[in-house]
């Protein structure tokens, strides 16, 4: 009985799921970027039209969406650093699983710093 290949970087477990999450977050961020350039472009139409559209970003549902967007960006950025270390650091492949847990830890720390401030802006008065 031949054994299934073990220790591959992108087949199964952490390597595969981080790859998939990187792809899904990148896909989502791309479409937000298209919309974000369009909404910002309204500054060329009039202050009123820009303020009206950016006003929709300030309601609670959009505020939670922004938290999700920031989470996607932070994950994509941190896992991107992991990918670069896998590619360019001689011990990167060996430590890819450890680096995934470091990515997760840094993600939690950064989101713990971001979320209370952002959500207090969104749900606070003013």
């Amino acid at each position: 009985m031949p054994e299934a290949p073990a220790g591959t970087l992108y087949r199964g477990r952490e390597g595969m799921w981080t790859w998939l999450a990187h792809r899904v977050t990148g896909f989502a961020i791309f479409f937000f970027l298209l919309v974000h350039v369009l909404d910002t472009s309204l500054v060329r139409i009039s202050p009123e039209s820009y303020n009206a559209v950016i006003g929709t970003y300030k309601n609670p549902i959009m505020g939670i969406g922004e938290a999700g967007l920031v989470a996607a960006i932070v994950y994509h950025a941190l896992n991107g650093v992991r990918i670069m270390l896998i590619d360019f650091w001689s011990k990167g492949v060996k430590h890819q699983k450890t680096m995934f847990w470091i990515v997760l830890a840094v993600f939690v720390v950064l989101m713990a710093g971001f979320l209370p401030v952002h959500l207090s802006h969104v749900f606070g008065e003013g």
Partner: protein, 148 residues
């Protein structure tokens, strides 16, 4: 379980004769632009969502105040171009992976490249033709330096 080997006659080079290093340069670009985008976008998020009043404080006056400085104009311009090239190349990879029919691939990539051109041209024009004090606008909505 017996392994079967498919015999492929030599030469085993891929279809087509365009053998360039384009994919290598794309691979390098994704890493180089990714590193820059991490700094550009984390700063962008920090300034716009964490400093001051966060998302609730963003309005025409806020944008005009930022773009009064050439630093933020160049910052946003570089961010726009790098993010759009990085994102479009990522979309190209995803389309190549999942769209198995040639016609589907060509259609999806054409739409993606069209979106790239429209968004990059529009965004670049907006940054460079922006007037922070448009004539006839309600002064209350404009940055404070417009009243002088």
């Amino acid at each position: 379980m017996t392994a079967t080997t498919v015999r492929v006659p030599a030469p085993r080079s891929p279809r087509g004769s365009t053998r360039t290093n384009a994919e290598l340069y794309g691979w390098i670009f994704m890493r180089a632009s990714g590193a820059l985008l991490l700094v550009l976008i984390f700063t962008h998020l920090f300034v716009n969502l964490l400093m001051g009043g966060g998302v609730k404080a963003i309005d025409f006056g806020f944008v005009a105040g930022k773009w009064a400085s050439p630093v933020w104009q160049v910052w946003d311009l570089v961010m726009l171009w790098l993010a759009m090239i990085h994102g479009t190349n990522g979309m190209r990879t995803i389309i190549n992976d999942y769209a198995t029919k040639a016609a589907t691939r060509i259609t999806l990539k054409s739409v993606t490249y069209l979106a790239f051109v429209v968004i990059v041209v529009l965004g670049t024009l907006v940054i460079f033709t922006f007037d922070p004090c448009p004539p006839g606008a309600d002064v209350a909505l404009l940055p404070s330096f417009c009243t002088a």
